[in-house]
């Protein structure tokens, strides 16, 4: 028997992270009671090291390893880098918040790192099984994170809903994959592509499988009509967890879509384009209209996420590089905005007080003009008003849509996003036009102060100089095509 050791090099970051997660758990057991910050520091150190490793192992081409189940290409490297940065910022924002709520424990950080590992696996998967493993590692960690506050009924309810619906979606996905396997005889993405392009297989089975896969993906992206979990989870879970759920996993989900739909089932783009159009329209309609009726900012942002994901899907319908890079840019911008927004929400929350009602933002400009200004930038960016980066995200996607020949769809998307502007404006109105109801001091720690300011200013800076970020996304897509 001939046993060959696989090439581990492309997976060094994942391997390192896995080792470190165990380390974080152990360290927390050993010193967690005496020095509660240990796990946090270790987690940050781990993410930073991962960044260095990924950076150190950068290579221009595409490398497959583990018998073709794992791939390392430019898209994967760039997405992973973005994931590290996002998770690192998220943890920094969350630290005070979770410490006030008694969940500053090793579990939070090790779950967060496990989820990160899941995302990395999803991003680097080149086999349906690897994709699924990564997804489940991410999802299970997220379920547990939502449920981390055992004493909170809302969080528990949210976790159960998230888990049951998430499991259902995973089932859909697996079922779809099994149909693809039945039709093509393989789960390896390259072989599946080849088999479909060969064209001798039953189209009916493939399309049914595709429907299930798209349904599973939309659940993970929280695209309507598979969005039901999002508002409840956003409202019930603690803000730190919502920030985690709403940020980095969207990057991974984009990677997932790229691997599964574009690389794996790209030959069937004619079939999934129509599905994505329907998903995009329903998401934008439901997300934008339902968001208006919310009085809880987290619920409102959940619906806003739904509409943003709808808009992002529009980028994919062209099924060309132009559109993929537009969608990727949209996701990156979306993550940047979500981080800042939840950063502000957590900033305003104190021990025993959640700033999750819209009215909690009244008169923020009076209480602290600087953070009100940052929130203003974030809201205008979400609404797609220049000179914030949000407009270029919208511009790129709209350009891709028009490029694909769907003028009516672009007009519709624009009109629906006009509805969205209303509820972002409402936040600005509360912050600037109304008088404050409380004068509680807003005094963030030094690192959060710097990060949050940088986050807000990045919205403006990328709004004035968007070229670098756009070029990064274009480069990632082009290199991996």
């Amino acid at each position: 028997m001939n046993f060959m050791l696989p090439n581990f090099a492309p997976a060094y970051p994942e391997i390192f992270l896995l080792v470190m997660v165990c380390g974080v758990l152990m360290a927390d057991l050993a010193w967690g009671d005496k020095k509660p910050g240990t796990a946090y520091l270790l987690a940050q150190l781990t993410l930073f090291s991962c960044m260095l490793i990924t950076f150190g192992t950068l290579q221009p081409g595409t490398v497959h390893t583990f018998s073709g189940m794992f791939v390392d290409d430019t898209l994967a490297d760039i997405l992973k880098m973005l994931v590290y940065i996002t998770v690192s910022v998220v943890l920094a924002y969350s630290r005070t918040y979770i410490s006030d709520r008694g969940i500053l424990s090793g579990e939070f950080f090790s779950l967060a790192l496990f989820a990160t590992l899941g995302m990395m696996v999803m991003i680097s998967a080149s086999h349906f099984m690897t994709l699924y493993l990564g997804l489940e590692l991410l999802s299970l960690s997220l379920y547990a994170m939502v449920a981390l506050r055992r004493d909170s009924a809302g969080a528990t309810e949210a976790a159960i809903k998230f888990f049951v619906l998430g499991a259902l979606a995973s089932g859909f996905l697996l079922y779809g994959m099994s149909m693809i396997y039945g039709a093509t005889g393989s789960l390896d993405i390259a072989s599946v592509t080849k088999a479909i392009e060969g064209g001798v297989i039953s189209r009916g089975v493939l399309v049914v499988g595709l429907v299930f896969i798209v349904a599973g993906i939309s659940f993970k992206l929280s695209a309507a009509p598979f969005h039901m979990w999002a508002p409840d989870v956003y409202e019930g879970a603690s803000s730190a967890v919502v920030l985690f759920v709403g940020s980095a996993p969207k990057l991974a989900a984009f990677g997932f879509v790229m691997r599964l739909l574009v690389e794996g089932l790209g030959a069937m783009s004619g079939d999934w384009q129509g599905m994505l159009i329907i998903l995009a329209i329903t998401s934008m309609v439901i997300g934008n209209i339902a968001a208006i009726a919310q009085s809880n900012i987290k619920r409102m942002l959940a619906y806003s996420t739904i509409s943003h994901m709808g808009f992002m899907l529009l980028g994919l319908i062209g099924a060309n590089e132009n559109g993929y890079s537009a969608a990727m840019f949209y996701v990156v911008v979306y993550v940047l905005m979500t981080m800042g927004t939840f950063g502000i929400i957590m900033l305003l929350s104190r021990a025993g007080f959640e700033a999750d009602k819209l009215d909690d933002y009244k008169g923020l400009n009076r209480r602290n003009p600087w953070y009100a200004f940052i929130m203003l930038l974030l809201m205008f960016s979400m609404a797609g008003i220049p000179p914030t980066v949000g407009i270029y995200a919208k511009l790129s996607v709209l350009q891709a849509v028009l490029n694909a020949g769907y003028t009516w769809l672009a007009v519709l998307a624009v009109l629906l996003s006009l509805i969205g502007v209303f509820y972002y404006l409402r936040i600005v109105k509360l912050m600037y036009f109304d008088e404050p109801e409380t004068d509680a001091v807003i005094a963030p720690k030094g690192d959060v102060k710097v990060l949050l300011s940088a986050n807000g200013l990045a919205i403006l800076a990328f709004g004035i100089f968007p070229q670098s970020l756009i070029a990064l996304c274009t480069y990632a897509i082009q290199q991996s095509a």
């Binding site: 400009n365 003009p369 203003l376 205008f380 008003i385 220049p386 000179p387 407009i391 270029y392 511009l395 790129s396 709209l398 350009q399 028009l402 490029n403 003028t407 672009a410 007009v411 624009v414 009109l415 996003s417 006009l418 502007v421 209303f422 404006l425 409402r426 600005v428 109105k429 600037y432 036009f433 968007p466 070229q467 756009i470 070029a471 274009t474």
Partner: protein, 494 residues
């Protein structure tokens, strides 16, 4: 010509940087400092804009003071600036108005002074950007960005119903401009990857796509001008906005709509413009006649001037779509003149509001007895608003009426009714407010205008009279540009 020196960039970014500096002074403890920086910044903003006029080459219609740098490579977007005889006067108008607004708000604004002054300065820079962009995306960015400061000005310092007015203002304007964005991206596709406005001027387009793009542009610009029937946000916004906000809104922001027609609709879509000229003229005449009548019955002075603005801007759009020299030039003169007159009218109403805290006509009466100097200024501006010869209000209206006479007698007839209605609503309002016996005891307490107010009103009075008596300095810089624009519009793109 100043070659190589980025004058337009300076005109755009100096006020914005000054605005940021004003914001940085922080809370109301530093209000005097904020006012000082704002004044210096706005005056400097006007001074650096003056070379645009003095070094302007009036005998060419090519873009001047051009700056062109790649901005977003991926979409071939350029930081492309330049002005012609249409844009340059509007930039000057804007730079001229900003110091007046700063001075007008000097003592009146006591809450969040730095944010108020900062918002005006930043808006001033942004609007200069609107008038000098030669790249569609750059234009769009400035265009939309100008919404944010105005939204905050109305919403933070406005009257009791300010939230409604601010959100209505924002959403109305945004609706139009989003469709304009789609049109830009469409043109980007058709032109195979260019956002250059000057490229679009040369781009051949089929009739069907011209009409669709025209409608998208029309929504954006008609809301801004505003034309009937999408004018309803304007009275609300004016009534609720603080005095400075009303001044900038009427004097500057409305001009962005008019400018849009000249920079985009006419030259990019000449065939659709001719095709739909009848509709545009009809809408303009409705604004002139019907909105003039609406203004007659207003009980609120600011609302009255707001409706009068809509009527006057009707002349502007009427002049555009007559496609002759007098019409276009008259429309341009009317835009600049309306900038002076409406600014002055809103400032006058602001003067009274600061003393009595009412805008209702019935709350006044006999103001002349207490404020003779003010009454004299107000008289001049009321006369200008009703188009009296010798004031700037007359020149533009007269030119447009002449131009419409060339096209169709009935256009001219309907447009000329403004000479009656305009005089009626303005002077009737003036009579009820200023003359008569003092009925309300509060009016008895009113003090005449001080040095600060006299300064602002004098500057505007000089502008109004100067332009009325000798409009040549304004018309000579736009002559060539207008001629070439008309020649361009006359050529079919089909």
């Amino acid at each position: 010509m100043l070659f190589g020196f980025p004058l337009l960039s300076l005109v755009i970014w100096l006020p914005i940087l000054a605005g940021v500096a004003v914001l940085a002074t922080g809370g109301d403890r530093n209000a005097p400092l904020a006012r000082m920086i704002a004044l210096v910044g706005s005056v400097a903003g006007f001074l650096v804009a003056i070379p645009l006029y003095t070094s302007f080459e009036p005998l060419t219609s090519t873009m001047q003071f051009v700056e062109n740098h790649v901005w977003i490579e991926r979409f071939n977007v350029h930081y492309h600036l330049g002005v012609d005889g249409i844009a340059m006067p509007l930039i000057l108008l804007n730079a001229f108005t900003t110091p007046l607004v700063v001075i007008a708000g000097w003592e009146v604004i006591t809450r969040r002074v730095s944010q108020y002054m900062g918002a005006f300065l930043i808006m001033s820079g942004i609007v200069n950007g609107v008038f000098s962009s030669l790249d569609a995306i750059l234009f769009y960015v400035f265009w939309e960005a100008s919404l944010i400061p105005m939204f905050l000005i109305i919403g933070v310092w406005g009257g009791p119903n300010r939230v409604y007015a601010a959100i209505k203002f924002f959403l109305y304007t945004l609706l139009g401009s989003l469709l304009m964005l789609v049109a830009f991206i469409y043109l980007y596709q058709v032109s195979e990857g260019s956002f250059s406005i000057l490229e679009y001027h040369k781009l051949p387009l089929s009739m069907a796509s011209q009409v669709l793009i025209f409608i998208a542009f029309l929504l954006a610009f008609a809301v801004k001008v505003p034309m009937w029937p999408v004018h309803t946000w304007l009275p609300d916004a004016h009534v609720e906005a603080p005095t400075g906000g009303s001044v900038v809104l009427a004097a500057i922001l409305l001009k962005m709509g008019g400018y849009g027609f000249l920079r985009f609709s006419l030259p990019i879509l000449p065939d659709a413009s001719h095709q739909l000229a009848g509709m545009m003229i009809a809408l303009s005449l409705i604004a002139v006649v019907y909105i003039g009548l609406v203004a007659l019955v207003q009980a609120d002075m600011k609302k009255l001037i707001a409706y009068s603005s809509v009527a006057h801007m009707g002349f502007v759009t009427l002049g555009f779509f007559l496609f002759n020299n007098y019409g276009l030039e008259g429309a341009m003169v009317q835009m600049v003149s309306h900038g002076f007159i409406s600014a002055a009218m809103f400032l006058c109403i602001g003067v009274m509001y600061d003393r009595l805290h009412s805008r209702q006509i019935v709350d006044y009466g006999g103001v002349a007895r207490r404020m003779p100097a003010f009454a004299a200024f107000f008289m001049l501006f009321a006369m200008a608003n009703s188009g009296l010869p010798g004031t700037s209000g007359f020149v533009g209206e007269f030119m447009v009426i002449m131009a419409s006479m060339k096209v169709n007698f009935w256009y001219a007839f309907l447009a000329a009714t403004t000479l009656i209605t305009g005089a009626a609503y303005t002077l009737w309002m003036y009579k009820r407010v200023i003359f008569g016996a003092v009925v309300h005891p509060a009016v008895e307490e009113m003090k005449d205008i001080g040095a600060r107010e006299i300064l602002v009103l004098t500057v505007l009075a000089v502008a109004v009279l100067g332009m009325g008596l000798y409009p040549l300095p304004l018309t000579e810089v736009m002559h060539t540009t207008v001629d070439d624009l008309l020649a361009h519009v006359a050529r079919s793109k089909l």
